[in-house]
Symmetry: C2
Subunit: 427 residues, 2 copies
Amino acid sequence: MDRLEELLHKTQEKSIRISVIGLGRVGLPLASVLASKGFKVNGIDVNTDTIESIKNSKCPFYDPSLQDNLEETVKSGNLTVGTKMESNFNVLFLSVGTPKTEGNTVDYSQLFNALNEIVKADILGKLIILRSTLPPKTTEDVIIPFLEDKSSLRCGKDFGLAVCPERILEGKAIRELNQLPEIIGGVNEICNNIVKSIFQEINPDKEFVITSPTGAELTKLFTNIYRYIGFALANELAIWSEMYGVDATEVIKGANYNYERCNIPIPGFAGGPCLSKDGTFLDNNTTFSSIVSTAWKLNESIPQHVINSIKKNIGNLYNKKIAVLGLSFKSGSDDLRNSPSLKLVGILKTTGAKVIVHDPYVKDTISLKQALENSEVVIIATNHKEFQNIKEEINQSKPKLIYDVWSMYESKDYPSLEYHRFGDGSL
Amino acid sequence: MDRLEELLHKTQEKSIRISVIGLGRVGLPLASVLASKGFKVNGIDVNTDTIESIKNSKCPFYDPSLQDNLEETVKSGNLTVGTKMESNFNVLFLSVGTPKTEGNTVDYSQLFNALNEIVKADILGKLIILRSTLPPKTTEDVIIPFLEDKSSLRCGKDFGLAVCPERILEGKAIRELNQLPEIIGGVNEICNNIVKSIFQEINPDKEFVITSPTGAELTKLFTNIYRYIGFALANELAIWSEMYGVDATEVIKGANYNYERCNIPIPGFAGGPCLSKDGTFLDNNTTFSSIVSTAWKLNESIPQHVINSIKKNIGNLYNKKIAVLGLSFKSGSDDLRNSPSLKLVGILKTTGAKVIVHDPYVKDTISLKQALENSEVVIIATNHKEFQNIKEEINQSKPKLIYDVWSMYESKDYPSLEYHRFGDGSL
């Protein structure tokens, strides 16, 4: 029997060992869920803090549902973790980061560090599943030639390979791993079938979209670009609304209301480690301005625009105490990568303002009470649900100005204060 | 009793006379539907052909459901039409065109011709409802001052005014007039209530979004811009897919499949009288490249891109016979305004090609059979449903190349011919 057919049988019998390299927000939920379904899973990460944390059954980032799952799988012994590759795996998920360099090109260093370890571990008869977000053709033009070259084995015959990008929402990993259709771009049918067989253990009714490796890379990028453009458009409409003195959020809600052809997001910061990066993986291929690059320019300018608006109202920010509420890039998350709120704080500091940050999800930020005390400006910069119920506290602290980036409140919530929201046309 | 309150009572008793100025694809369905609900409606249009056609119960453009409605309302006498304003109306809908000039600014000529007639007819105690698409602030900064100045009456007191933009799909006017929520931006509550009362005669359960005049103008523009950007993004993704030799339509279908955060349209031509224009009403306010202007540039370039792709495959087009299937800007329509297919034909002619056009909805185009005969290239340029079932005819005519702008077919439908679709990465 062919080696990969053998692997398929072993997978169907659930007698495979799975490795997951990269235990971040993509890899760890996957490793833990697979372990909870009875697979023997070994997770690898170069970060010793991450490994220590997991060994102590503690999720290294904020995700309550994953936390419960992790406690169970570490206790059961199905999930083991370490900093070194073990060679006794049958299937390996690669979920390391592929961030942008400062020059906006892709940084493959984590990817190739991992691939180097993988070939050392011997890949004969094994399946490599690429779970990271990759620029198109990375698999066909770089990863497969690399693996074949270093191992002297043939991809699709001696070892298997599939691109299977994650598309989960941060903080909702457990639910979404169960529900979302999986994109599978294997080098051949047998690879696709092994991947299917693994995910069917998570959910027997799991749906699949079968494509090529490059098709799978593009599917992931298209998904995120679509979302990013939507947020950028909302922000562009907010900027225009300001020119006309009309509240963009109200107009958008009206435009969407029971009108199925319209689904514009609410204006706000748009960034994070995925959305603001993935578009460049395609845009880098283009010599002229694309919609993606125009959207990127716009979204990246919103923190400065917020500061400009605040200055219009209260003037010079030098020595003024400013409370920034929320530092992470999205609600309910502690993830600071490419966070527009972090950028806002950085620019604010260049104005000479005294910037104080409170974020209930981010360690080393101060309490809400301390942040509000004597602050002249309060900026709601992340739409954490905790910020939906703090109008009493803000009203009591009597700032000169409240700037609500996310339209979480309305003017009438602050009857005796100066309240503005992004895109409301009042500044 | 206040004059506008009186008008509200008359409206509720259905004893008002309604005028509709502009009997195009927006005004005529509205006039006919209101007449079918028992209102006495007088329709006005400067185009004598339009008036003659309606008098003969014939819809001047393609809309089968409107055709039936029109026959009934003309016969009943509830709908009368003419080229001259009558002054005995109580409520007037203004639904004239507001096209772009060649310099991309708005052309108000139809609007002001109509407003001049309206003030001559005396507007005391009457309500003017603006149904046309307007650049933001047109109502507050131009129309209201104009009407007050010319009539020496006060808006909101002596006469009423509301912005109530249409958002129907061409060809589906009757159904959508019944179903869609109406945006109402009246100058005061009484005006809003009169408009509501009229639309509740069309559907007692009609829903409303109440806003300001400028809010209503923006709501319409936001709706169309959102759709236009979606089509442009699909086209940008198609261009990128071509660089990687991957079929964009397949990837987009995969990305959308049971993934609620993704809803990318299929690539194709994007134009028409509304979508390609409405964005400029906001973009004209901006000195730098906006997402809207970038999207416009992209969508407007697709016809040239199609021709470039065809040339890559078969070379110089000089003297080659090319059949273009579909001339209107969208499926099931005879509307040629800002049609990318029309632009395609124009550019093709500059190449020296012999261009033959077939469109089942457009008069003065030739038959499918004649178009296909001896054509070296067949371009499916509009996604008319009639084109879903013509593969036999195309296969028999044996063109050297089929170019499918709308991904209506697949390669396997043309087993012995050269078939390419926009964004499939094969050219």
